[in-house]
Symmetry: C2
Subunit: 162 residues, 2 copies
């Protein structure tokens, strides 16, 4: 099949498929006479695997590791467990951060019950005062401006580390 059909079968943008190929996640396919990429069932399986992992918000690097495990059946799957546990930890951590964020934002929101002029807006006042810095966690889970776990989304800001 050609790239369009693979795209339809897996719900993956054509550009994304080519991106995965460039990035080494998808094996380089055969080409037709007219230089079109030709895929088979194995590619469908492989791409579906990638998309499922992405829908679980794994990085492409993590997916690469999992693919390696799949291709080395003699290896112990305890490593797979470890990778998954670490990923679950990141998700949990990010949730905690977002909870703290929500708490602060709601506190800020309380400061402005009704509409007044911005000169006396309690929210702007609140933002002009200090906010307690929460811990310097090092999650790899993303912040507040991003699409769902849905892999068809842009990536957000990188955190700052000092």
């Amino acid at each position: 099949m050609k790239i369009g059909e693979l795209s339809r079968l897996t719900g993956t943008n054509v550009e994304t498929i080519r991106y995965y190929e460039r990035d080494g996640l998808l094996p380089i396919p055969a080409r037709s006479e007219g230089n079109y990429r030709i895929y088979g069932d194995a590619h469908v399986q492989r791409l579906s695997f990638i998309r499922r992992c992405r829908s679980l918000d794994m990085t492409l690097d993590e997916i690469r590791v999992l693919q390696h495990f799949k291709e080395s059946p003699q290896e112990n799957c305890a490593d797979v467990n470890r990778l998954l546990d670490r990923h679950i930890g990141h998700v949990a951590q990010r949730m905690q951060e977002l909870q703290e964020l929500e708490r602060q934002l709601k506190g800020l929101r309380e400061r402005c019950g009704e509409a007044r002029d911005a000169a006396h807006c309690g929210i702007l006042d609140g933002l002009s005062q200090a906010i307690v810095p929460s811990g310097k966690t090092a999650s790899h889970v993303q912040g507040a401006h991003r699409h769902a776990a849905n892999p068809n989304s842009a990536k957000g800001i990188q955190g700052n580390q000092v």
Copy 2:
């Protein structure tokens, strides 16, 4: 003061300060004879405001809007409320998504109690089967692989709660 002091006072990377200037968030400062940027108290206030907003995971565009409100005191602060409410909504939504993510990941993790060889690993099996695609929500909150939202993490700007 020079950029290094502003950096220390606000806990902001020097490069980040210059980036904000390029991006129009910080007003262009005066220059010394040796072409060094010279900042005053107003810059400290302004940058602190930005960093506090960033610590609440607002985008630079949102911050620009808030700055506009601050500079137009006659405007109604109901707009500020709306912006904040929307942002809170994004955070809440992202948390829900992460909860669903956690559920799925833990379900997957259950499939592998003890270490076996990867050929029979229940996790890899699970990843090779379908996972329900969650909704096509349009949050701007980020996913699972990100640093903490807090830009003041290391230096810790002075501060009480909001």
